[in-house]
Amino acid sequence: MHPAFSVLVFTVMSGAGYGLITLMVIGHLSGLSQLQDSSVLLSAGILSFVMISGGLLSSTLHLANPKNAWRAFSRFKTSWLSREAVFAILLYPFMLIYLGAIWMDMTGAVVSVAGILTAVFAMVTLFCTSMIYASLKTIRQWNSSLTPVNYIALGLMSGAVLLAAVQSVVGGDLAGVLQQLALALVVLGAVCKVIYFFWIGKPAGSTINTATGFTQASVRLLDQGHTSNSFLNDEFGYTVEANKLVRLRLLMLGVAFVVPFLLLLSASSALLVIAAASTIAGLLVERWLFFAEARHVVRLFHGDQRV
């Protein structure tokens, strides 16, 4: 699949933002002492708000006809993209109430209820995003429960690294709990990703034979019917050399997981900021790979033997 840069930015940034606000709400409401300081909470909250909103704005850039984007709220019953849009908007009032209440030093039920709803809608939105991909039967590499698991694990992981960075920069020294949480989630994220790579490596599903209906003989493409590229070639024909993919996988595992893990051990504010930046950069490569390694069944009609 052709990786659209605006979609990579959208899923990585908003995913990290949703993970950050969710973990912050949980830490704050469960009474973690380092997460009671309103300047830490507001910094993390505003960072999350900016990342989510920036991501959502970026997602509209890949629409070819954005003037109809408002209609995307209308098919909640059937479309995961519509559900994503609805929950993404529903989150805003609660997030604003929650952050506003913190800013005005309020405590009590308003903060708790708004906070819990913010965290719930954040996770639900992230889940809906992942289901847009996971629900497509046409793309074997996406059509799996590993897709939502990866999106949520990586969203929480990047959120945890960001939270650790913000807390140590704004609040002085890094809370041990947040450090351990971030370390654990980085390990979890890496494990999910490696399992995914093993899983997509196993050939399965449709072949050029089932696509053309000739299941008892070999089938080869002689002519795709047009001399220059079409929409289908551009969108689904995206191909990257296998050894480049392997190199990028290794680079991604290093930048997204190994580097942040090592930097997190240091607990120094400056290094934690670098860890957060490294995580985001690594996840952008991860998302690029998620698209570049996904092979749509239309490729079978254009001559691929299997996907």
């Binding site: 699949m1 890949h62 629409l63 070819a64 006809n65 954005p66 003037k67 109809n68 984007a69 209609r71 995307a72 709220f73 209308s74 098919r75 059937t78 479309s79 995961w80 993209l81 519509s82 849009a85 847009i132 629900s135 497509l136 039967k137 046409t138 793309i139 599903g205 449709s206 089932t210 696509a211 053309t212 209906g213 000739f214 003989a217 070999s218 089938v219 080869r220 493409l221 002689l222 002519d223 795709q224 019917g225 047009h226 220059s228 590229n229 079409s230 929409f231 289908l232 551009d234 969108e235 689904f236 749509h296 069944v297 239309v298 079978l300 009609f301 254009h302």
Partner: protein, 228 residues
């Protein structure tokens, strides 16, 4: 009603006549224009609703060239419709035709990702999704003579390899062809239940291989030995 096409892979000669007639009719039809980017330049790219691909099936001397025209299959379980967030894509309950409302589409491409058959193409100029309409603006047009109320691609096909009809009616021409010629769906394992059905090539004797006689074999061998 369940309207759709039967395509005969035995007789299709791969002339691209249906694709051209389709583009000609639909560019000024309900979902038109079907725009092209750089149409007379080095790298033209544009929206077509019907594409013809050519395959070689089996190995020589049994191999056969098969031309496979593909347009929207008007699937019974059309995921392209369920994924659409705007409601632009819809399937008509009265005849099963799948259409895109050009006034509602936001050009997110998701429906084209959900379609296994490559039947949807984004219009590079309008930014909306285009696909086969089953010539809905011909087949119900009462101002046309009755035998012309058929899709443009069906009317133009010089070998009559495309047949239009109602798959719900067991006595329609399409239903009979599917029964008699063991019509097949493409990629049935994905569960979209495509309506369009493909008639496989008829079985014919394979090309006869030349078998030299014993005398000719011996003569050939002797000639080879002597010339050395």
């Amino acid at each position: 009603m369940k309207l759709g096409l039967v395509v005969d892979l035995d007789t299709c000669v791969g002339c691209h006549g249906c694709a051209t007639a389709c583009k000609q009719w639909n560019t000024s039809g309900t979902i038109g224009p079907l725009s092209d980017k750089d149409p007379y330049g080095r790298d033209p790219n544009g929206a077509w609703l019907n594409r013809i691909r050519t395959y070689e099936v089996d190995d020589s001397p049994n191999s056969k060239t098969v031309n496979m025209p593909m347009s929207c299959m008007h699937c019974d379980d059309a995921a392209c419709v369920t994924v659409c967030p705007t409601g632009a894509s819809y399937k008509r309950s009265e005849d099963g035709i799948v259409l895109v409302d050009q006034d509602k589409c936001m050009g997110c491409n998701l429906c084209s990702w959900a379609c296994p058959y490559g039947a949807r193409e984004l219009d590079p100029d309008a930014g909306t999704m285009k696909k086969c309409t089953l010539c809905v603006d011909r087949i119900y047009d009462e101002s046309l003579p009755e035998d012309e109320r058929k899709p443009a691609c069906v009317l133009t096909c010089p070998t009559k390899s495309r047949v239009f009809g109602d798959f719900d009616d067991p006595n329609s021409e399409v239903s009979q062809l599917v029964r008699d010629r063991a019509g097949k769906q493409l990629m049935p394992e994905l569960g979209y239940n495509p309506v369009n059905t493909y008639l496989p090539p008829r079985n014919k004797p394979v090309v006869e291989q030349y078998q030299p006689s014993l005398k000719a074999t011996v003569k050939g061998w002797v000639n080879k030995v002597i010339s050395r």
